[in-house]
């Protein structure tokens, strides 16, 4: 019972100090606030799409096709007369869902692999990291292309394809601090008290490396959204008529000579989200650990 209470208090304290650390990191680097604000704005648009979007994103109106930006259609209409602004707002959902699914998966699996490799060391470490090196040898877009072609372009499959490319970097990020934390006295003490390996890893190593991993998560979310858009642009995105930013640019690219707005506005949407996440992650990374600056 006492053990549970102590453990609860320890966890609460760890979480509180992590929260305080994150807050001070935000304040050290003001650009993180701008990044966060922009990202939250996009999340609100995505969540509130049914209420915020001015038109139905898949409602076709041939009479109204390829109209330039106007008061009724701020970003113009596409070749089927669909409202581009509404499609961008709905498209944010696809980008965010695939990005978040992929990065959550990669973060959990990659970190677990990295912590296990770092904790056990020796042959386990060599084998795991060699496998990660093999995966890293595949350029992410190429691996994504092949996996999506193999599995078919659904939201889950796209998330799997992107997660596969992001697992090795998370494993690497988690492994290095695990090796240094492993040698601290409190871990030897835990071992002497007979704590299991799983308890030491989950209770004592993971909280120590979590801030770094979460910051990398925000940077990799930016990459995931970029890769998803790139796959959709190549033609391997979620199938039409669902609105995806990369897919909209692909369709707009065919009419680029006379209707630039088709490709231009979704391009700006991708730029804003990816830039916001990069600003958020970059600022936090500098603040949390100056040594990590510009690594990876």
């Amino acid at each position: 019972m006492t053990g549970h209470v102590q453990r609860g208090a320890y966890l609460r304290q760890t979480l509180r100090s992590m929260g305080a650390g994150l807050f001070s990191a935000f304040n050290t680097n003001k650009t993180s606030w701008i990044g966060l604000a922009l990202f939250v704005f996009v999340v609100i648009l995505a969540v509130g799409a049914p209420w915020i979007a001015p038109h139905d994103p898949i409602d076709q109106n041939i009479l109204n096709r390829l109209k330039p930006p106007s008061a009724d259609h701020w970003f113009g209409t596409d070749q089927f007369g669909r409202d581009i602004l509404s499609r961008i707002i709905w498209g944010a959902r696809i980008s965010l869902v695939i990005g978040l699914l992929a990065i959550t998966g990669a973060l959990v699996i990659g970190s677990a692999i990295g912590v296990i490799a770092g904790y056990y060391g020796g042959v386990v470490d060599i084998i795991i990291m060699q496998i990660m090196d093999v995966l890293l040898a595949f350029p992410s877009l190429i691996l994504g292309l092949i996996v999506v072609a193999m599995l078919g372009p659904s939201i889950t499959n796209l998330a799997i394809a992107i997660a596969l490319t992001a697992i090795p970097p998370f494993a690497r990020i988690a492994r290095a601090p695990t090796i240094s934390v492993k040698q601290r006295e409190y871990l030897s003490a835990g071992r002497a008290l007979g704590y299991s390996d799983a308890r030491l890893m989950l209770g004592h190593i993971v909280p120590n490396i979590l801030p770094e991993i979460l910051v990398m998560g925000s940077l990799w979310l930016a990459t995931a959204i970029r890769v998803e858009a790139s796959l959709a642009f190549i033609g391997l995105g979620v199938s039409p008529p669902t609105a995806t930013w990369g897919g909209m640019i692909r369709e707009g690219f065919e009419n680029i000579l006379d209707s630039f707005w088709l490709a231009f506005f979704p391009s700006m949407a991708i730029l804003v989200v990816v830039f916001a996440l990069n600003m958020l992650g970059d600022g936090l990374r500098d603040a949390i650990d100056p040594r990590l600056k510009d690594a990876g």
Binding site: F138, L145, I234, I249, I270, V274
Partner: protein, 313 residues
């Protein structure tokens, strides 16, 4: 050094072996019977069976695997299911165009990125630093196809300075340069964004070293300290960036080639995907991963050569 070289080479061989194994199995689990894909839906069962026999698809998987590994080593990567020509031949035909694009972009990226990174570090927390940092962050936030489309809109469609489509096979040097310009600028600017950031942080680290303070103390001109003493040391991490970001460069070159309709590996792989040309896809993955493993090996070795302090363990 030679022990390190042998060890590093050994790891590369293991990685390559792992990569080839994954490639082999990925292609085998792709949906659809390759023989049916080549001959089409109307083909008779007899001809499909005959083709399966000829392609070696009736052999046990392990035998196919060994044949595949042997083939890769001797340069027999199979025959394209669409064109019927050897995969190696098809790849070698377009490889120079992609190499030309990526090498020129890398040079452009270094020429822009290194001085910008140095300038940004020297003027740390001043206006130039902020501008360079935001610009470089913007550069690495742009998906390559988005920046390519923006460049196309501006310089080819509005200003009409460059051709909308780049054939990559101009007759004169000037035509080739015009064809290459926009795609190379697109890839080069993105690479410059990455290189600027690494050069800046490497430079910041070097500027704090004791020998820099000594150089100051003995009255050396600041410019000489920066360009002669600091830059040399700051360049070391920049070299490794080439290896680290090669995957990104390859992905971006695929997207750039598609937007500018330029021949190269990018267009070849997308075509192979659309036509379900499995042998071609297999060959493409082999060539891409081969490039990544070899360049990483090369940068590791160069890293050791330019910095004798590095201890190999």
């Amino acid at each position: 050094m030679s022990a390190f070289f042998i060890k590093r080479l050994g790891f590369s061989v293991i990685t390559l072996f792992g990569v080839l194994t994954i490639v082999f199995f990925i292609v085998r689990v792709l949906p659809g019977d390759p023989a049916l894909v080549i001959l089409g839906d109307q083909a008779s069962q007899v001809s499909i069976e005959a083709l399966r026999e000829r392609l070696g698809l009736n052999e046990p998987l392990f035998v196919q695997y060994l044949q595949f590994l042997g083939g890769v080593v001797v340069g027999d990567w199979g025959v394209s299911m669409v064109s019927g020509r050897p995969v190696v031949e098809e790849i070698l035909k377009v490889l120079p165009a992609t190499v030309e694009l990526t090498v020129v972009s890398l040079i452009l990226g270094a020429v822009i990125g290194i001085p910008l990174g140095v300038w940004s570090a020297v003027r740390r927390n001043e206006l130039p630093d902020y501008i360079v940092r935001i610009a470089s962050l913007l550069g690495l936030s742009l998906p390559a196809f988005v920046s390519a489309i923006l460049l196309l809109l501006m310089f080819s469609i509005t200003l009409r300075w460059f051709p909308v489509m780049s054939s990559g096979q101009g007759d004169t040097l000037l035509e080739r340069a015009r064809d290459l310009a926009l795609p190379a600028i697109n890839l080069g600017l993105i690479m410059a964004a990455y290189i600027t950031r690494v050069a800046r942080s490497a430079m910041l680290e070097v500027l704090n070293q004791d020998y820099v303070r000594t150089a100051h103390a003995k009255g050396l001109v600041f410019r000489v300290i920066v360009w002669r003493h600091c830059l040399r040391n700051a360049l070391i991490p920049v070299v490794t960036v080439v290896g680290l970001y090669l995957g990104i460069l390859i992905g971006n070159s695929v997207l750039t080639e598609i937007v500018f309709n330029r021949p190269g590996l990018g267009k070849l792989i997308v075509g192979a995907l659309n036509q379900r040309d499995y042998t071609m896809l297999q060959g493409m993955m082999v060539i891409y991963t081969l490039i990544v493993v070899l360049v990483n090996l090369f940068t590791d070795l160069v890293y050791g050569l330019i910095d004798p302090r590095i201890q190999y363990s």
